[in-house]
Amino acid sequence: MAEIGHGGKEIVERIMEPAQAKSKIQNLAKIPVRSQIANEIIGIAYGFFSPLQGFMGKADVESVCKNMKLANGVVWSIPILFDLSDEEIKQYGINKGASVVLTYNDNPMAIMEVEEIFDYDRKSMAAAVYGTDDPKHPGCSRTYAYKDKFIGGKITLINRPKINPPYDPYFVPPLELRKKFKDKGWVRVVAHQTRNVPHTGHEWLMKGAWFQTYGELSIEKPIVGVLVNAIIGEKRKGDYIDESIILTQDELRKSGYFGDHNHLTTLTFWDMRYAGPREAVFHAALRTNLGLTHHMYGRDHAGVGTYYGPYDAHHMLEKIAKDLAIVPVYSMNWLYCPHCGEVTSEGLCNHKKEWQKFSGTLIRSIVMDGVKPPRLIFRPEVFDLVMECADKYGFGSPFVTDDYLAKRIPVFEIPPM
């Protein structure tokens, strides 16, 4: 039976077996790509970004910027672009109608059918997508860094990425993930978007969303799950290291704060754009493709600095609700109330003067001081694992450092063909 993804389109993996591809690529130009593009090739080829079949052409970009829709009318919020300099286009002899091989780690990764070579005004693109053209916004800065031209065309993966430990069990493409949900008997699954090591505020966001998602369903058997879908992409100094993020999220299940019956952790390769409301819409499309029925959104979802209001993403999702096949679940902040002696929701507790709010940033500062936070705030198993990851993967630091950026284990590699 066809698996239907975002926009009502069937999810089709665009993957050619290496044996078949080997002869096809012999005489094609080989173009090396950077990690952002490699991440997006995986996103397109496995159906994470369905209905996209390749990097966008001008009509799609124009329509995404102006109407937040692809040219075919399907809601889409962020341009997915492959850029090259004029010099590279000349050097590789890239012409409309040609096929080229995109390589990563010097090995062939995908065939691209070049359908279009075009330019687009970066400032207007940034303003449309991010609601600002401020170069300090990380999404705008990424947009301004694109090279001279964009190359639009379909992608076919010809060499599957080798996912390195400890990430390998967490890479579960859409068709496989949907099968897993069926095997677990989950009829509803709610997404928890994260780039963080979980504190109990995050844990309760998930638990609250799980309750909301359960709704009117029968409670006789466990039929609702939480999918933690960690975004793995470009790192900035001071972030938690990726190994900590993915392993500690799963640790909540392993240590019994959740269980196999209601919790699963996977990853998606994506370089965050921090587009706030538009990123929220992108997440809705992505998680629809993963087979989720619900998506949790907290305050200032995928925002940065003060560019977006705390509920801008919610308002955007409400506007396009009829075009989405996933139900947004809105979550209030969780905090510690010493009067209640527990983590509680700001929507429930009325001991407002006593509230002790905590953010991921605050918890990072405690961890950075080498002090173990109370278990009501940060699970001891999570803290211990963060420290273990620092030793094992972080060159002594739980946070991204220059050393980590230079010497880390790559999340994936493209093997020789």
């Binding site: 100094k237 200032d300 940033t361 500062s365 009501l376 705030i377």
Partner: protein, 99 residues
């Protein structure tokens, strides 16, 4: 209008608490998070701006706590040591002189 103050949260374990007791500063600790003690050194606007400039990994948590977070551990350790040495929380001007 009173000048705004922005805390640098120095988290206190048992060892640090003993040092603060010796310096007569242990009463300045607050229970901030589910019993976890914090020693807060406050910055004014100018000190906050200088800290954020000099230590680019530091972040001003404008949304939740209005505190200066993610200072490198050695920097916070040095601020703490200065407080204990001077038996005072008013050390930031002195500390920032060398930067």
């Amino acid at each position: 209008m009173a000048e705004e103050k922005y805390p640098i949260n120095i988290w206190i374990n048992e060892e640090r608490f003993k040092q603060l007791e010796k310096a007569g500063l242990s009463d300045m600790c607050e229970e901030m998070l589910a019993g976890l003690k914090v020693f807060r050194v406050f910055a004014n606007d100018a000190q906050r701006d200088k800290i954020l400039k000099v230590f680019p990994t530091a972040k001003f948590d404008s949304a939740t706590t209005k505190s200066i977070e993610l200072l490198p551990k050695d920097v916070k350790d040095a601020i703490f040591v200065k407080c204990v040495e001077k038996k005072s929380m008013d050390v930031l001007d002195d500390f920032l002189k060398s930067y």
